[in-house]
Structures are given as structure tokens and as C-alpha cells.
Amino acid sequence: MVFSSHVFLYVFLPAFLAVYAITPRGLRSTTISLASLLFYGWSRPDLVLLMLFSTVLDYVSGLRIAHAQSRGRTGRAWLILSMVGNLGMLATFKYAHFLAQSLRPLVHHWGWTLPEWEPIALPVGISFYTFQTMSYTIDVFRRDVEAQRNPIDFLCFVTMFPQLVAGPIVRYHTIAHEIRSRQHSLSLFFRGVLAFQSGFAKKILIADPLSTLADSAFAATSLAPGDAWLGILAYAFQIYFDFSGYSDMAIGLGLMLGFHFPINFDRPYWARSITDFWRRWHISLSTWLRDYLYVPLGGNRKGSLRTYVNLALVMLLGGLWHGANWTFVVWGAYQGFWLIVERLLAGPIARWRFPRALGIAWTFFLVLIGWVFFRAKDLPHAIDYLSAMFGLSDSVGQTLGPRPIHFTALGVASLIVWFGKPTRDLVDQARIQWVLPLQAAFWWALLHMDYEGHVPFLYFQF
């Protein structure tokens, strides 16, 4: 089930909120868990079992680690078991076929053969909930949090439908106290509604119309430079409004239920450098990678060279997290390269005192180039697209034929990205002059969804 579907908006959500409101406090986590299982199993009931496996594995691992530590041992074996189980699931469902296909030529060169590995359909949200459960077990191992002994509460943490399938990645310590006891109030619920409405409007009114333009651009085998730039610009806004829209809706739903999820975006296209960009884009993933990968690798504590290696490694894995494709690997490497360059040139850049606008423009340009790799279906496609952007393509360009609605969406998106208030301000301050236009946008988006349908959320595929 997706947030922007008929069944979720008009049946599931009102019914769930009504049931939740009349459920005694002690049973509310149970209500959330059951609703989440229905939400997740709506189209593929069998995949619920996979998620339950991950839940049970980390619930047991957490308890055993805590038990071992109470007796003076580390519980490392249970941590390893959890990591192997979760990463094994990811490897099996997400990367096995890719690895087999990538290694086959190499192995064949050595005279060996690899068995055929049939690809498996990627379970929705697996990358998100495995990262969540892993962070829980690691935090218990580090003694940052206490192990959760109530299985229902732990199930609630893992399966919580607002952020289950496309993030933000909620770490256990963020909401541990709220799972046990959380407050509900009109103002909190109201803020949740605003956040949900804002995300929904961003998704339906901006991201979806732009998707047709971006899809057309990346479907074309040759494009005029202007159209190629238009296409990648449309994609840059599409992915931002799509993903941040989903995050806003998730945060809003969380607030309605009394949870405070971390923000996932902080005006990323305002970034003055790639380093700054990664502080603002998919924050829950970048902080996860920082805390559970970069820092354990040594971070910046072991000298410059090791710092650069760590940065490159983290960004490569971050790219690979998005999907089993060389395009994501290159995208991650590209991001890592610029992080290293910026670190190398940090001194001169600070002395030169570039205007802020120049930094923002340059960073946006670099991000756009990166999105080409992210969106292309394979590396030759990405190279072809980049060639078209820079007028290096030999073939005659096709015309995209953008419609007025595309230009309108691009214009509105630009205004919001560079001149608008961030959603968190909108929600936190809830000024009356913003609330009413937001209501109009939400109900308009509902009309538009009836009319045009909706495009699947991009981050569902990761």
C-alpha cells in the first residue's frame, strides 16, 4: 500500500486513526503493529514473513546481547549473527544476482564457472527496515540503548507503517521512549496533518507531473542539449519532491501517532558544497552511514589518507545501498570523489570567499551530473545522456515537447526549493497564513490524483 493510493487515503488511514483513537493506551502499539502488517502485506502478503524474520532475529539478538553483557561478556556472537542474518537477507534479495553477473566474466576468465543465480523480486522496503533493525542491535551492543523486552513494542518499532517502506531510517534510540510512552495532543496531531498534507501535495502536484518529462528524456536515444538539461532538471526536482514528500508524509503520520521521526531533508539544493549537500540530503541514511560505518572505520582520526579512503568507501557503499547496479556504484564514487576534493581544497576555498550563490549553483550543477548516473539504466546510457547535455552527441536530437504543466511544475519547484520555507518551519510554526494555502494545495492534490492517478514513489525500489 502506498500513501498516495486511493485505498490508503480514503479507507486505511481514516479507519486506522479512528480505531487508534479509541484503543486503550496499553494496546496502541499492538494496533500500530497489526495495521502495519496489513499495510505491508497488502500487495504481497508473503513478504510479511521476511520482515517478521528480521524482527525476530534482532529481538532475540538484542535480548541475548543484553543478557551476555549483564554477565560480563560482550555478546559479540549475537551481534555477528544479527549482522549476518540482516546483511544476508539484503545480499540474497538485492545483490546476489548482481554479484553473480558481475563476477561471472572474471571467474570465467580463470576457467571456473559460477552457478546460475536466478534474480529475486526485491521486497519493498527491505533496505530500510534491515538498516533499522541492525542499528538497534548495534546500539544494544554498544550499550547506547537498553534491549527492548516487550516483543510487541519491538514489532511496533520495526513494522511501523509510516516510515516502513521508504524511510526515513528511524533508529531505535530516537523513538525508544515514545514506544513505551508517548503523548498525544491536538497540536501534535494538527502538525502531523500539516506535514502529511505538505508531503502529499509535493508528491502529486510537483513530482508526478515532472516524472513524465524526466521519463521521456531518459527514454530518448538522442536529445538536443537544451532538452537533455531540461530532462535532468526535471528529474532533480522529481526525486527531491518525491522522496522528501514521502518523508514529510511519514513524519506527519508519526506526529499523528505521537512519534517524532528525524527529518530527512534540509533544503539540499541550498547546499554550498557536496559535503554540505550530504548534510542535507537523505539525512537519516547519511547519519546512519556516518555512525555505523564511517566512524567505526576510523573516520578522520587516522590521518588524511585514511580519511579519504573511508570517505570513498562509505560513499561507494551508500551508492550501492540504492540498488544493485553499476550506475549506483559510479554515482557513489562520484559523490565520494567530490567529498575528497572538497576536503583537499578546504583551505583555499575558505580563503577565496566565494559568493554563496556561486557555491549553490556549482553544487547544484555537480548534483545534476550525479543524477544522470543515478537515473540512467546503465553506464553507456549515462554517458550518452551526458554527451547530449554537453552537445557531444552525433545523432540528431529528439524534441521532448514539454507541456505547459511541466514548465509550471518546474517553476513552482524552483520557487519552493530556493525561495520557499522548509516544511519543518511550516509545520513547527504553523502560521495561519500558511495553513490555509496548504489546505487548498492538499485538496487540490486529491483532485489531481483522481484525475491523473499517481506515479509510484521512487524510493520504493531501493
Binding site: 486511493h6 485505498v7 487515503l9 480514503y10 479507507v11 481514516p14 479507519a15 486513526l17 479512528a18 496489513l38 502485506g41 497488502w42 500487495s43 504481497r44 502478503p45 544476482h97 553477473q101 534474480p119 526485491l122 534510540h173 530516537t174 503523548q183 495532543s185 491536538l186 497540536s187 501534535l188 496531531f189 494538527f190 496533518v193 500539516l194 513524465t212 521519463d215 527514454a219 536515444t221 513524519i251 517524532h260 521521526f261 528525524p262 527529518i263 539504466k377 515537447g401 507541456r403 505547459p404 504543466i405 519543518r424 513547527d428 510554526q429 504553523a430 502560521r431 495561519i432 495553513v435 489546505q439 483532485l447 483522481d450 484525475y451 491523473e452 492517478g453 499517481h454 509510484p456 525500489q461
Partner: protein, 642 residues
């Protein structure tokens, strides 16, 4: 709890700190929260209780989707499918809001849903049916009339009473309902009618009686098709104009459930057919009709449609069905038991079946006493100039991944392969939705009447899968069981028709298909590739041959090659089928098929060795007894592995 107590800091991973004042008064907070829950819930409750009463109000696309869902052959048991089946269309709110919203968008952007123009008084039009052809009308009328006249002559020579129903456009009849900015157009109806009549065809005038009765509600407002009254008028004037008598018949009434409507006895007598249970027997909620099929022993079936508002009964002969589920795609004609009733119903067809109609008649599979060829005027006079609008319709499919499969010869563009989920190189997940498909918005447009073919090779890894070849007005399904797939799907197309080409799906979730190659073949225009002489009817004996001479010489393709279409036939061709290419320099290049070909088949011939040579014709010789015939030679697009 006051807002100021929400104080998780961003650094700790919580929501950001509250900054600034919280100025919305509590009554407004309560209002927003309550309206959010109550209005969404009310919409859900109302949708759940809404019967499928007037689906046309929700729009063509939704209705077609619902028809697919309603007719899904296999349920996979998921809640998603259950929901789609039960509740998808039942929205009074959407039926009210959609036309209004469409109108608002139109006024705002001058283009709303590109598939719909919203006119006055709630009238819908389709953009590609509205605009007139700009220039060289006489030349194009003659070009369109020529192949139709050729078909007409052959049919008349076979003793078939032929009539042509030229259908006027809604935008002409209901010109006063066109939206602001769209001037009424005179159309080219009478030009076409005169041209056809000059060539000896009988074309009853429907424009005049329709114009005279334009206030009688001849079209559904929110649809592009005739109302029951429009169908009645059309039937009356077509049959009167052709001198055909229509028997009085009782209308069957609106179907209340999914039970098939009993067929009159005289229909079953036709050709000794019997009604067999078949999974395609279904109720179509959009067109409010029940369809089922009669099968004869030789595999021929007649597709019967009963619908409450229109003519009492009509028959659509769609061709030959084969044991493995393949069949030739096109509508050949529409019949009633006796006499012929004009086909006046919206939906699947008709498509001008020049090529295959001839073949069916030659094969003796179809031998009607009377045949009515239905020809909507807008196809000929409108579509060639409206590629952009049509292309945008095709772009409505939600897509994630697009992969080119290479340019199409003679098609003026390229096809792409859309897939919602790519599991690996060439491997795609299929779902009950029609989401994996080839299409190229605005580019796949046949330059003339001819044959398009798609050949799919690969393997269904988990299935079954269903392949659908489709155009904007018709489709044909092939069932693909688990295992290797080598499927050639021929398709006759008319001028300027746009293709959705190929869609893959599965009635079960989690199905997977590996696509090794997907070839798109566009025929030479049949107006240029002419058959050298009349062909004998019935089965061919050992040593049969057929020859095709191209009126316009064709350079041998450097990439790809030639495709030879064989069929229709229920038999396979033994190895050793000969193809002789006649070159411009007088040489004859002889090629022999290496393996048996099961008709209908496409024999792909590599012509890369003939680069720079020009082909002026070709001949096919059959080595053994087979019921088969050469339909056409075709250019093959360069192939690219997915």
C-alpha cells in the same frame, strides 16, 4: 502538551526544535484535523457504496482499467487484487470532480488530460478526432480509397455483398459542444464518400441524418461513442442505404449481473457453431456488453457480443484461433445471422483489415454473404496531424525504467521498453497490471496500411505470462506458459495508427520473464508492395509458390533483414521453405529455411550480405503440402539486445 515541549534536536536525530510562534488558533487546528479525517473517511464510505452505474463518467482510461480488472482470469488472492476488483471505480466524488477539474485544467493550461477535451455541457471529445487535416486532402482521399477499392473489388468478385459505413465524427455532429478555442470543422466526410462511390463502393450517407437529428442525443456526452439512439439511427440508415433488411429484434435489456445473455437460436445455426465454456467469456462493465465465443471444429470462432443499448445482436468474426492460444488478430467483419447489421458498438474495433481480410477470404475461413466495412472518418482525416496528442496519451503509463530497443524501419521513430521492475539483465517482474510494455510516444506510427510484427524471444521463468499486442483501439492476448518463448505476433495496422505495441503481464504476482530479444518489424506499405496475381483458395499442394513484386524497390537492410510472414494456417511448414529475392540487377538470391516454421510465423532472413543491393520482389516456394500463404515481405528494424 504544548508545542514548546517538542524539543528533540536535529543533532540527536529527532525533529527540529520549534522556531518561531505557533499562531494557528485551536479552533482552526481542530477544524483542519477533523476535516482531514472526516472528509477522507466520508469519501471512502461513499466510494465503497457506489455501484458501477455510470462508469463512462469516470473516463475512458479508468473504465478500461476496470474492464481489465473485472475480466482478470486468475486471482492471485492478494488484497490488492481484491480491492482493485471490488472498489476501484466506485467513486461518486471522482465522477463529479473529474469533469470539473478537467475543465479547470483546460482553462488554466489550455490542455487538460491530453486524451480528453472537455466541451460545453459536459461533453468530452478526443483531441486527435477533432482537428481537420490541413492540406492535400484530395491526394490523401485518393490514397486512402485505393486499397479499399482493391479490397472491394476482390470481395465483390467472390460474390460478397459489400457496403462501407463511413462514420461521421462526434466533433462535427456536436460542433456546438466543442470547447472554446476549437472551431467547428466541416470535416471531409463527403469528400471521402464521393471518392469511394466513384470507385464503385456503396457508402450510405450517415452525416446528413446525423446532422438533422443532432439534438437527439446521438452521442454519449462523456464518451466518444454513439448512444443507443445514435446506434439505432446508424443501423436504420446503413441498412436502408444498402438495401439490407434488418429483422425486428427484441432488445435484451440492461444486464444486471455477469450472466451471459442467451444467444438467439439462429446465431448458433450459423456455420454449425456451438458455444463452449471459455475463460474469455466475460462482462465488460465499460461497454455494458457481454461477450462470448462460439467455436467450430476447425478452430474458427465467432465472437458474439450482446449489448443492451445497441443493435439486438451482432457477430464479430475475428479470425482463426490456434490450439496454443495464438490467433490472427484483426476483426474481419461484423455480422448478424441474417442479414448483416452494421457494427455500431464502441470499443475493440474496427480496424480496416485490408491485408488479413483478404487472406481470410482466400483461405475460405470467412465467407460472409454480406460484409460491412466500418470506416471512421477521423482515422483518415485527423490522426496524421495529431501525433503529439496521441503520444501524450501513451505516456500516461507509470514507468520507472525505459530501455530502447532500437529504431523501427519505416516507423519514423523508436520503441522503448518500459518496465516497473527490472530484476536483472533482461529479467523483468510481471504483475497483474499491464505495466511492462513497449511503446514510443508519438513515434510508432505506421506510415500506411501494413503489417507490424513483434517477435519476442526469451523465457518465462515463473508464470504464466500474458503478452498483449495492442493499438489504441484493439488488442490481442497471447498466453505464455513457463518455459522458452519464441513468439511472433503479427498485426495489421491502418494508416497513422499508434501502437502500444507489446505489454507483458501475468495473472499472478511474482511472475518473471527473461527477454533475450525483442524485435520490432514494420512492413512495407502494402499500397506499395502488390501481389503479382490472384491467389487460389483453399489448401496449397506440394510445390506451391507465391510471388510478391514491390512497386517501389527496397534497398536490402544492412542491419536486420527481411521478414517473411507466413499464414494464417493451422499447420507448420516443413524445413526447406525457399525464399528467392529478386534483385534490381537481375540476380536472384535463393535462401532456404533451416527449420520448420509454425504458422502464423515470421521467417527472419539476414540480408546483411546483400548490402547495397536493391530488392524488387520476392518469391516463396513451399516444399510440401501445407495450408499457407505468403502475406508480405517486411523490413526488419535493427535489433538490440535488452
Amino acid at each position: 502538551m504544548s508545542p514548546s515541549s517538542i524539543s528533540n534536536s536535529e543533532e540527536r536525530g529527532g525533529t527540529p526544535e520549534i522556531r518561531g510562534a505557533f499562531t494557528t488558533p485551536r479552533f482552526l487546528q481542530a477544524g483542519v484535523a477533523l476535516s482531514f479525517i472526516l472528509l477522507l473517511g466520508a469519501r471512502g464510505v461513499s466510494d465503497l457504496g457506489w455501484p458501477i452505474a455510470r462508469p463512462e463518467l469516470v473516463g475512458n482510461e479508468r473504465a478500461k482499467e476496470a474492464a481489465l480488472v473485472a475480466n482478470a482470469r486468475v486471482s492471485d488472492g492478494s488484497l490488492f487484487r481484491w480491492w482493485e476488483r471490488q472498489w476501484r471505480l466506485r467513486s461518486p466524488a471522482a465522477s463529479v470532480s473529474k469533469p470539473l477539474y478537467s475543465e479547470a485544467l483546460l482553462s488554466l493550461f489550455k490542455e487538460a488530460d491530453p486524451s480528453i477535451l472537455v466541451g460545453k455541457d459536459g461533453f468530452f471529445f478526443q483531441p486527435h478526432r477533432v482537428r481537420p487535416r490541413k492540406s492535400n486532402l484530395d491526394e490523401l482521399v485518393a490514397e486512402d480509397a485505393r486499397p479499399l477499392a482493391a479490397l472491394h473489388r476482390r470481395l465483390v468478385a467472390l460474390g460478397i455483398d459489400v457496403g462501407v459505413a463511413l462514420l461521421p465524427r462526434k466533433s462535427v455532429i456536436c460542433a456546438d459542444k466543442l470547447p472554446h478555442g476549437f472551431d467547428p470543422v466541416a470535416g471531409s466526410y463527403q469528400s471521402y464518400r464521393r471518392a469511394f462511390e466513384d470507385l464503385g463502393m456503396r457508402v450510405p450517407d450517415l452525416l446528413t441524418p446525423f446532422m438533422e437529428r443532432r439534438e437527439s442525443g446521438l452521442y454519449f456526452p462523456a464518451d466518444t461513442h454513439w448512444s443507443p439512439e445514435g446506434e439505432r439511427i446508424a443501423a436504420e440508415f446503413v441498412t436502408r442505404g444498402l438495401g439490407w433488411q434488418v429483422p425486428e429484434a427484441q432488445r435484451v435489456g440492461a444486464p444486471r449481473n455477469l450472466d451471459p445473455i442467451p444467444a438467439p437460436a439462429d446465431l448458433r445455426k450459423l456455420a454449425g457453431l456451438r458455444l463452449l465454456p471459455h475463460p474469455t467469456q466475460h462482462f465488460d462493465p465499460y461497454h455494458q456488453q457481454t461477450q462470448f465465443r462460439f467455436y467450430a471444429a476447425d478452430g474458427t470462432y465467432i465472437h458474439y457480443l450482446a449489448y443492451p443499448g445497441g443493435p439486438p445482436a451482432s457477430l464479430m468474426v475475428t479470425g482463426t484461433s490456434y490450439s496454443d492460444g495464438r490467433m490472427f488478430p484483426q476483426t474481419v467483419g461484423w455480422y448478424c445471422a441474417e442479414p448483416v447489421i452494421p457494427e455500431t458498438r464502441p470499443g475493440i474495433g474496427p480496424i480496416l483489415p485490408i491485408g488479413l481480410a483478404m487472406q481470410h477470404v482466400r483461405e475460405g475461413q470467412v465467407m460472409p454473404k454480406r460484409l460491412l466495412i466500418e470506416l471512421p472518418e477521423f482515422w483518415m482525416c485527423c490522426q496524421a496531424s495529431t501525433r503529439k496528442e496521441i503520444s501524450t496519451v501513451l505516456m500516461q503509463c507509470p514507468t520507472v525504467d525505459l530501455q530502447p530497443i532500437g529504431p523501427t524501419a519505416n516507423a519514423g521513430g523508436e520503441a522503448v521498453f518500459r518496465s516497473p521492475r527490472v530484476l536483472g539483465p533482461g529479467i523483468h517482474e510481471l504483475t497483474p497490471e499491464w505495466k511492462v510494455e513497449t511503446t514510443r510516444p508519438g513515434k510508432i506510427q505506421n506510415p500506411g496500411t501494413g503489417i507490424l510484427s513483434i517477435r519476442l524471444r526469451g523465457e518465462v521463468l515463473h508464470g504464466p505470462a500474458i503478452a498483449r499486442v495492442s493499438s489504441i483501439s484493439a488488442f490481442l492476448d497471447y498466453e505464455l506458459p513457463v518455459g522458452a518463448v519464441d513468439l511472433a505476433m503479427p498485426w495489421v495496422a491502418t494508416r497513422a495508427e499508434c501502437f502500444g505495441l507489446l505489454a507483458l503481464s501475468s495473472p499472478v504476482t511474482g511472475a518473471k520473464i527473461r527477454i533475450d530479444s525483442l524485435e520490432l518489424v514494420m512492413d512495407l506499405d502494402l499500397a506499395r508492395a502488390q501481389l503479382a496475381g490472384p491467389l487460389p483458395l483453399g489448401s496449397r499442394e506440394s510445390g506451391w509458390s507465391q510471388r510478391v513484386v514491390f512497386s517501389a524497390p527496397v534497398p536490402a537492410p544492412r542491419l536486420g533483414g527481411l521478414a517473411v510472414f507466413l499464414g494464417p494456417s493451422a499447420h507448420s511448414h516443413p524445413p526447406g521453405l525457399e525464399l528467392i529475392l529478386e534483385l534490381e540487377n537481375g540476380d536472384r538470391k535463393r535462401l532456404v529455411s533451416p527449420e520448420a516454421l509454425e504458422a502464423p510465423a515470421i521467417w527472419l532472413v539476414d540480408t546483411s550480405a546483400l548490402a547495397d543491393q536493391v530488392i524488387v520482389g520476392l518469391e516463396v516456394r513451399g516444399p510440401g503440402s501445407a495450408s499457407a500463404g505468403l502475406v508480405s515481405g517486411a523490413m526488419i528494424a535493427p535489433m538490440k539486445r535488452l
